[in-house]
Amino acid sequence: MTSSREREAWLTELRQRFVAVARRRVPEDAVEDVAQDALRIVHERGGDRPDLPWCFQVLRNTIGNWYQRQKVRARDLSPEDAALPNAAPTPLEALEDREVERALRESIEKIGGGDTGCAHYLQRLMRGDAPARIAEDEGLDPAVLYRRIYRCRGKLRELLRERGVLA
């Protein structure tokens, strides 16, 4: 990215995607603020051309922070006032670390009841093993492993959704 015009166009596109992603995870009246906060961090700290995975991590953290602030505010209000609309599932990034760990562990155990292969791959991913290494250990072509992993991650996301967690 060389010119400020190109950068502006890039930020505009990114903002549109941020808004679309945020709309599925926070109430409508918070969408613009969340997207704007995340974009500000990307603009200020991302350098000339930040990696997109990093940009979306910024958005996840911004959404996580938004939920944290809501929790703090809710503690200061009466239960009636603090009640939030319960229409949508809670995003994974809004949960505390221990809740995340429990949700993952229990969901993977459930998957293991019917598909030990998937549970095995997910456990390794959870322990920080890189897919490339897993492929090597299993003697699989990486392309084959990525297809298997994608299906296993899909199962995991489905089970999390059944628990009311959007992943």
Binding site: L104, G128, A132
Partner: protein, 197 residues
């Protein structure tokens, strides 16, 4: 979304796409809400795995590969240790900051004094007082903007507890909010920092 796109999201996150494929994927991603959402969601799952490891203390992998379940554990311990090391390096790099500016100050009357810019250690967080403020709220964030610790004080400095910030924190930002007697924010200051050896 078709399977190919979903698989490609994983390959993109793992950094296994060629430069050309990567550029093409990014072009499509910036024009496609569904693809952007998929990248966000899969990244959220990776974040969740990392956060779960923090809870369990980051136990090293003891998983035996499916194809080698009958082998002795020591035969796979070394490769797995190497795998963890290989994973840890890119993860640390992704979490590490790459601030475009070493310092970022707000246009406020609060001047943050330390830490600002390059520092060797993180200890005391300090700022100048603001008229009318009865307390201050400090929020420390990592380089991606994730809240790490929030503290409150009636003075103009604070030292986070020893376990408040991860030892791996090598940079980030912090804000101080001046709060009046009605609980309203009346001013704000902010700064970025980078811990250098």
């Amino acid at each position: 979304m078709n399977e190919r796109n979903r698989v490609q999201v994983l390959e993109y996150l793992a950094g296994t796409l060629s430069e050309e494929e990567r550029a093409d994927f990014e072009r499509r991603l910036l024009a496609d809400d569904e693809l952007a959402d998929e990248l966000y969601a899969e990244g959220a799952l990776d974040d969740a795995f990392r956060r779960a490891r923090e809870v369990t203390g980051g136990a090293p992998s003891k998983v035996v590969p499916l194809a080698t379940r009958r082998l002795s554990p020591w035969l796979i311990a070394l490769p797995l240790a190497a795998a963890i090391a290989l994973v840890a390096i890119p993860m640390a790099r992704r979490d590490s900051p790459a601030p475009a500016e070493s310092t970022m100050r707000g246009s406020s009357g609060i001047q943050v004094t330390e830490p600002v810019g390059d520092v060797t250690t993180l200890g005391r967080f300090a700022w100048t007082g603001f008229p009318g403020a009865v307390s201050y709220e400090i929020v420390i964030r990592d380089a991606t903007g994730r809240d790490l610790w929030t503290g409150h004080t009636t003075t103009t400095s604070i030292v986070p507890p020893p376990d408040a910030l991860p030892p791996s924190l090598v940079g980030g930002s912090w804000t101080v909010r001046a709060v009046d007697s009605h609980g309203f924010e009346i001013e704000k200051g902010l700064a970025t920092f980078r811990v250098v050896p």
